[in-house]
Subunit: 460 residues, 4 copies
Amino acid sequence: MTNGSEKLWGGRFEGKTSPAVEDFTESVSFDYRLFREDILGSMVHAEMLLKKNLISHSDFVEIRDTLKDIEKEIEAGSFEFDKKHEDIHMNIEAALIDRVGEPGLKLHTARSRNDQVACDLKLWTRKSIDSVVELLRDCQKALLNRAEALSDIIMPGYTHLQHAQPVLFSHVLLAYVEMLERDRRRLMECRCRLNVCPLGACALAGSGLPIDPDFTAEKLGFDSPLNNSIDAVSDRDFAVEFVYCLSMIIMHLSRLAEEWLIWASHEFDLLDLDESFCTGSSIMPQKKNPDVLELIRGKTGRVYGNLMDLLTTLKGLPLSYNRDLQEDKFPLFEARDEVGKSLSVFTQLISSTSVKTKQAESACEKGYMDATALADYLVCRGVPFRESHQAVGAIVRHAASMDKKLCDMTIDEMRRFHELISEDVYDVLGARNCIENYCSKGSSAPRLVKEQIELWKEKL
Amino acid sequence: MTNGSEKLWGGRFEGKTSPAVEDFTESVSFDYRLFREDILGSMVHAEMLLKKNLISHSDFVEIRDTLKDIEKEIEAGSFEFDKKHEDIHMNIEAALIDRVGEPGLKLHTARSRNDQVACDLKLWTRKSIDSVVELLRDCQKALLNRAEALSDIIMPGYTHLQHAQPVLFSHVLLAYVEMLERDRRRLMECRCRLNVCPLGACALAGSGLPIDPDFTAEKLGFDSPLNNSIDAVSDRDFAVEFVYCLSMIIMHLSRLAEEWLIWASHEFDLLDLDESFCTGSSIMPQKKNPDVLELIRGKTGRVYGNLMDLLTTLKGLPLSYNRDLQEDKFPLFEARDEVGKSLSVFTQLISSTSVKTKQAESACEKGYMDATALADYLVCRGVPFRESHQAVGAIVRHAASMDKKLCDMTIDEMRRFHELISEDVYDVLGARNCIENYCSKGSSAPRLVKEQIELWKEKL
Amino acid sequence: MTNGSEKLWGGRFEGKTSPAVEDFTESVSFDYRLFREDILGSMVHAEMLLKKNLISHSDFVEIRDTLKDIEKEIEAGSFEFDKKHEDIHMNIEAALIDRVGEPGLKLHTARSRNDQVACDLKLWTRKSIDSVVELLRDCQKALLNRAEALSDIIMPGYTHLQHAQPVLFSHVLLAYVEMLERDRRRLMECRCRLNVCPLGACALAGSGLPIDPDFTAEKLGFDSPLNNSIDAVSDRDFAVEFVYCLSMIIMHLSRLAEEWLIWASHEFDLLDLDESFCTGSSIMPQKKNPDVLELIRGKTGRVYGNLMDLLTTLKGLPLSYNRDLQEDKFPLFEARDEVGKSLSVFTQLISSTSVKTKQAESACEKGYMDATALADYLVCRGVPFRESHQAVGAIVRHAASMDKKLCDMTIDEMRRFHELISEDVYDVLGARNCIENYCSKGSSAPRLVKEQIELWKEKL
Amino acid sequence: MTNGSEKLWGGRFEGKTSPAVEDFTESVSFDYRLFREDILGSMVHAEMLLKKNLISHSDFVEIRDTLKDIEKEIEAGSFEFDKKHEDIHMNIEAALIDRVGEPGLKLHTARSRNDQVACDLKLWTRKSIDSVVELLRDCQKALLNRAEALSDIIMPGYTHLQHAQPVLFSHVLLAYVEMLERDRRRLMECRCRLNVCPLGACALAGSGLPIDPDFTAEKLGFDSPLNNSIDAVSDRDFAVEFVYCLSMIIMHLSRLAEEWLIWASHEFDLLDLDESFCTGSSIMPQKKNPDVLELIRGKTGRVYGNLMDLLTTLKGLPLSYNRDLQEDKFPLFEARDEVGKSLSVFTQLISSTSVKTKQAESACEKGYMDATALADYLVCRGVPFRESHQAVGAIVRHAASMDKKLCDMTIDEMRRFHELISEDVYDVLGARNCIENYCSKGSSAPRLVKEQIELWKEKL
C-alpha cells in the first residue's frame, strides 16, 4: 500500500507532485485562518461518527483531545504548517494521524474536503457577520452620540455641493445612522440565508454510510442541514453576498469620508478633526492632513474589487466543486478585514470630531438658502407654487446683483416681484427661521430630529 | 415675471441653457419608462395636497383627470416628449400646466424632483422585483418539471469537470432550484428594505408646509414614510441591491448555461437541445449552435458591469442629491431587462430539452466513479477511511493499467490490495449500485430526490 | 433545396426558430450601426473575389452597385431591417440576394460571419479611435487656451484637499493636458495593434479557396492581414483595449470634474461657471447647479462597467468564435458614445469658465503655504532640511496660535525658533514670492509654465 | 525644537498620533517591498544634491554607504521596521538619521514623499514589466515548442464548442502565441509611457532650490524628467495600465485554461496532463484533478478585481497627492504576483502536456466538419455559395438521419442533392483532406503553419 505520492490522496498516483505545483496550489499560507472552524467542524463530525457507531468512543476521545491540542498549538504559534499538505484541512488531519495513528485515519469517514471547506467557510463568515454587525452598531452609536451632543448646530444642506437649504448637523449624522441600519439588516439576512449546513454532502453526491447531517448541523449552530448535496459543495453565494454587504458599508463610509474631507478643507472649515487622527507632510511643515478619511475612501476600491473578483470567479463555473473556489478566500478575508478596520477607526474619529459652530452658522448666510421658504410663504398666501418659484427666482437674481441677503431686502424691494409679500415675511427668512419652520415628518425640524435621536437611542 | 430661460426652474437665470448642455443633461430619452410611476405618484401627491387643503377639490380633479389623459397618450405613443423639459417628470408637469393652467402650477407644491424621482424609481424597482420573482418561480417550475419527468436518469457527477460519482440528473436540476430559491428570497428582502416612501423629503430638508407623508406612503403601498429627509433623497441603496440580486441570478444562469453548453458538445453528448433553440452557421452547413445558452452566459458581463457602474457612481458621493444619480437608470433598466429576457428564454429552453439517456448511462462507466463506494465498503468492514482510500487508489491504478472497470475485476485481483474484499463487493460497484446505496440526507438517492421533488411541488 | 427554416443558414434545419429565440438572439437592433463598415467590407471582399476569378465582373458590378444603394437607403432611414435575419450582416446580404439574385448568392464565398463581424468591428473601432483622438486634442486645446489666457493667476495648490503650496492656475490646467496626452498616445497604440485584418479567417480555419487576404487587408487600410485564422475570429482584445483607453479618459475627466465641482462651491468660490452650463432646481428658486460636471463624473461608472463587462465576457471563453461575443457591441458602443459626448461638452465648458482671480489670490493667504519656502530658506543657510522642517513646524504652530500669517510675524518672533532667520526672509514669504522663487524643471514657476504653454501650442 | 509628536514631520503637532491611527495608516507592512527602489532613488537624489552643492562630499559618502548597509540588512531580514515611521520611505530615512546624524537630516532636501513614492513605484513597475515580458516570452516559447513537436496532429476546431472544421493542434497553440505577443507589446508600450521621472516635483509644485531633475532622471534610467510637477505626483496611470496589461494576460490564460480543462475531461479526452501537475481527492480515490488549470482560471477574478480597485480609487480624485493613493500598492503587487506565478507554472505545464493523437483524430470524424469543404467544392464548380450551402445542409441532414459520415455516402446519394457532385468529391472529404486543402494566408494548412512556426522561432 505504498505510492509515489506523499499525499493523503495519493493512492492512485505513481509520481510526486511538482514542487512548483505544490507552491502554486497550496492554500495553507492563507486559509490557516480557518483553523478554529476546521477543528470545531471536525470535532462535531467525529461526535456524529461516534453517535452512528462509525468510530468507537476511544477513537472519538483521542481525536477530540488531539484536535484541541492542535488548536492550542496553532493559537500559540507553535504548530508547524507544511505546504506539502496543501491546506489547513489536510495539515490538521495529517498532524492528527501523525499523533494518534489509526483513530486519526478514521476522521475523514463520510466527509470530503468539498463539504468540509464549505462548512468551515460558512462558520467563519457567520462569525465575521456577527462581528461586523457589532462594529456597525458601535459606529451608529458614535454618530448618534455626536448627533445628540451637537443637536442644535445648523449648517448648509447641500445638493449638487451647492447651498440648498439649512439643515441641522445632527440631521445629517442621522442620515448615516439610517444607511448603516440598512447595512446591519442586510448582514443579518445574509446570515440567515447562509445558515444551512453543507456537512454530509461529501464530494458532491452525499454518502452511502449511515451519517446524521441533522446532528452535525444542529451542533454547529446551523438552522438546518443541506437539502441538496450538489448545491452544498458548489455554492459560494454566501461569500459573494457577504462581500456585497461589505461593499455597501464601505460605499457608505466613502460618502461620509468624502463629505468630511470637503468640510475639513480650509475653505469649508466646518469640522475640527482631532490632531491625533491627522498626519503631517514630509516636506511641508504646516500640513495637518486628514489621512484617515482619505484611506477609508481609498479602501472602497479594494472592497469593490473583491466583489468583482468573486463574481468573476463564479461566472460560468460548472457544478460542482472546482478548484477555482479556493480563490474565494482572498477576497472574503480581505474585504472583511478592510471594512472591519475602517469601521473601527471611523468610529473613533467620529467621536473625536467637533463642528466649528460659528463657521457653520455663518456659512448659512450664503447662497440664498431661504429662497424655498420664501416660495412656500407665497404658497401659503394662495400663490401657485410654480408662480411663486418664478417670482422668488427673480428676487434672488435681483438680490444677488446687489450682493444682499434676502432678509436684508426691504419689503418694497421684494413686493416689486410679488405683491403678496408683507411684513411677516421676515419670520420665514434666515437659516434659523427656516429650520424652526420645518414641520414635515422626516424633516430637519429640531423637535423631530430630537424625536429621532430618542428613537435611535432605544433601538441601538 | 419673465426670465431668459424657458425652464420651469428658470426664474433666477438670465440666459438660456446651451443646446449642447440640453442634449447632454436630458434624461427623458430613457427615463420616460417611469411615466406610469410618475403619474401615479403625482396623483397621490395631489390627493394629499387636497386632503391638507393645499389645493382645492376642483384643482385636484383637473390634475388627476389630465394626468390620466397624459398617461393614456404616452401609452398610445401619441405624447410628444421634449428634451427641453429634461426628464419625464418635467415633461409631464409642463404638459399638465400647458393643459390646465393654474391648477397645474400647484402640483409641485411641497415636492422636489429629488424626492419625486426617488419615489418613482422605488415604485418601478418594486414592480420589477415582483416580476422577476415570478420569472424565477417559472424557471424553478420548469426545472422541477424536468426533474420529475427525468427523475430516473443517472449521469456522471463532476468535480473539476472530471468524473467524480454518479448522480441523478434530477438531483442536478434541483441544485439549480435551490440557487434560484435563494435568489427569490434575496429579492423579497430587497423589496422590504426599499419599501420606505421618500415623498415629503422635498429637496433634502423636508417642508415647512403641512404635508402628510404618512398618507402618500400608505396610498402608494409603502410600508412606512421616510425617517430622514436627507437620506431619502441621497439613497440609491435599493438600486444597487436590486442590481446585485440580478447579478446573482445571471451568475447562476451562467453556471447552468456553461454546464449545458459542455453537455451539448459532440463529446459529452448528454443533452438534446431543441432545434428551435439553436441557430446555424453562415458558412458551415452542418452547424447547429446552442446560441441561446451562449448569449445568456455572455450577458453576465453586462449585468456585472451594471453593478460595478452603480457602485462606482455612489463611491465617495457626498450627500444629498447630486446629478450623478441621474445615471442610475441605465444600469437599473438594463440589468432588469437582460435578466428578465434571459430567465424567460431559459425557462422555455429548459422545458424543451431532453437528456440522451443511453449516453448518460454509458458515460457513467468511465472514470471509476464507484471508487468511493468501494472505499466506503471497506470502512463498513472496519478499515479506517484513509487506509481504505489508499487501497482503493491502488486498485484503481491497477485497473486503469489493464483498462478494466472495477466491476470487471475479479475478487482475487482486488483482494491483492485488501484482504477484506469479498463477493458482496459487486453490490456496491457500478453506477446504478452507487446511486441505490446513497442514503444520507440531501444525497442523490432516488427516494430522497423524489421527496425533494414533492416538497418543491408544494412550495412553488 | 427547400428547408423548414427561412434562414440563409437553414439547410440542415427541419423546423423554424422559436420566435422567442429570434427576439433573444437578434442583434440588428443595435449592430445596425456597423452598416457602413459592413458594406465597405463586402465591397472589398467582392473586389477580391473578382480579382481571383471567383466571381465575374458583372457579378461584382451588381453587388457593388446594389450595396451602395442599400447604404444610401440605410442612411436615409428607408431600409427595412428584419429581426428574422438576425444581424446587420445577414440583413444586408439578404437584401442583396433579394434584389440581384444569383450574384448575391456568391458574395459570402470564402467568408464567414465570424471573420466578417471581426472585420466590421475593427473598422468601426478604428474610426472611433480616430474621432476620440480628435476630441482629446480639442479638449487639450481648450485647456491650453485657458492656461494661456489665465497664465498669471495664482491659487492654492492642494494635497489631501488641504492648502499645500501656491501654484499657477495655468500649471494645474497643464497637468490635465499631460494626462490627456497619455490618453491620446494610448489610443494611437491601440489603433496600431488592432490594425490587422481578420478577413480570410472564414469560420476559424481559413479557406481552401484561392482567396487573397493581402488584397482585402490593404484595400481596407489595415497594416497587414491575419497570421492566424483562429486568433483572428476569437480575438476581441482590441475592443477591451479601446474601452480601457476610454476608461482612462473618463477617469481623468472625473478628476477634473471633481476638482471643478469643489472649486465651484460657495465655499471655494474659485470658478465662475457660465450659466448656460448650469441648471436650476424644481423647488429651490436660488439654485444654479453644475450638473454638467456631475454628469461627467457620474458617467465614469458606466464606462468602468463597460470595461468590466467585456473582461467578464472574455474570461474563460474557449476559442474560437462563441456567440457570447455578440454582446461585445453594447459596451463598445456605449463607452465610445459616453466618452465622446463628455469630452465634447467638457471642452465647451472649459472654454466658457473663468477663474475668480481675487478669491483665488485671497485663498492663498490661508494655510501657511509658504512654510516650505521658509524651510528651504533655512536650507540655503546651511540648516539640514529635517532640522529646518522641525523649526518651521514650530513657527507655524506658534503663528496659528496667534492667528497670524508668516509674513506678518516679526523677525524676532521667528528668530526665537531659528537664529539663522534674518530680514531677507520676507523675500520668500507670501504666495507670490513662492511662485516667483520656484525654479526647478516642471515646477509652477511662471517662466517655465509659459515655456510649457509654448511647447504645447506647437505640439497640438 | 521639541514637539509632542515623534514623527519626522511632527513639528507643528502638539500631541501624538493615536495608536489606532498609526495601525490604520501605516504601509510599511506591505510597501517594504519597495526598499531597493527607495534606496536607489535616495542614492541618486543624494548624488544630485552633491552635484548641485546642496550637500558636501562627505555627507554624500555617509548617506550612500549607510543606505547600502541598510539595503543589505533588509535583504538579510535583520532590519527592524517600525510602524511608527509609517512607510518604507520614512523607515529608511529614520534609520539613516539615527546612524549618521546630520548628513541624514539633509537627504530629504528638495524632495517630498509625494515625488519619492511616485518614483519608487515607477521603478518597481518598470522592473516588474521587464520580468513579466520575459515570462511571456518563456510561455510563448513553450507553446511554440509544443507546436513544433506536435505539428502534424489534427483535431476538431470548435466554434460554439461544437465541431466546426478540422484544424492542426499546432495552429491552435500559435493562436495563443499571437495573443501573448500582443500582451508583450502592450507591456513594452506601457513601459515607455511610464518612463518619465517624477523626482523634482517635491510636494506638488516643484522646488525653489537649484536641483537638477535631468540628472536624477538620467541616472535612474528614465527617458526624461517631469514636465509638470502637479501631474507628476497625482499620476497613477502607469499603475492602472500595468494592471490592465496583466488583466489581459490572465484573460488569455483563462481562455487557454478553460480549453484545456474541457479537453482534459473524460469525454473530450484530448490531452494527457502530466500527473505531477494534477492533484487527488480527499474522498474519491480515483481522482486526478487538473487543479493548476482551474486555479489559473480562478485567479482571473483577482486580477480583474485589482484593476477595478485602482480605477475606483482614482475615480473623481482631485489633484494632487491624496492619501487614497497609498492603496495603489496592494492591487499592483498582487496582480503582478498572481500573473507572474500563473505564467510560470502554465509554462511548465504546457511543456509537460501531450495530445492523445488517436482520440484527436477520431474526434474529427464526428460533426460533419468537412461540410464546408464540400460547399467550397461546389463553389469551384460554379455553384453560388448560398446555393451550395443549402445543398450541403440538406446532405448533412440526410447523412445524420442515416448516421453516416459524408465520406461514407455514395456519389448517387449525394448527387440527389446536387448534380455537380462527382467522384473527385472524395478528395475534399474527411478531416485530413480538409487540412491538406486549406491554402489561404493564416489558415490551418500544414505548410503555412510550419512557416509560422519558423517565423516565431526567429522572433522569440
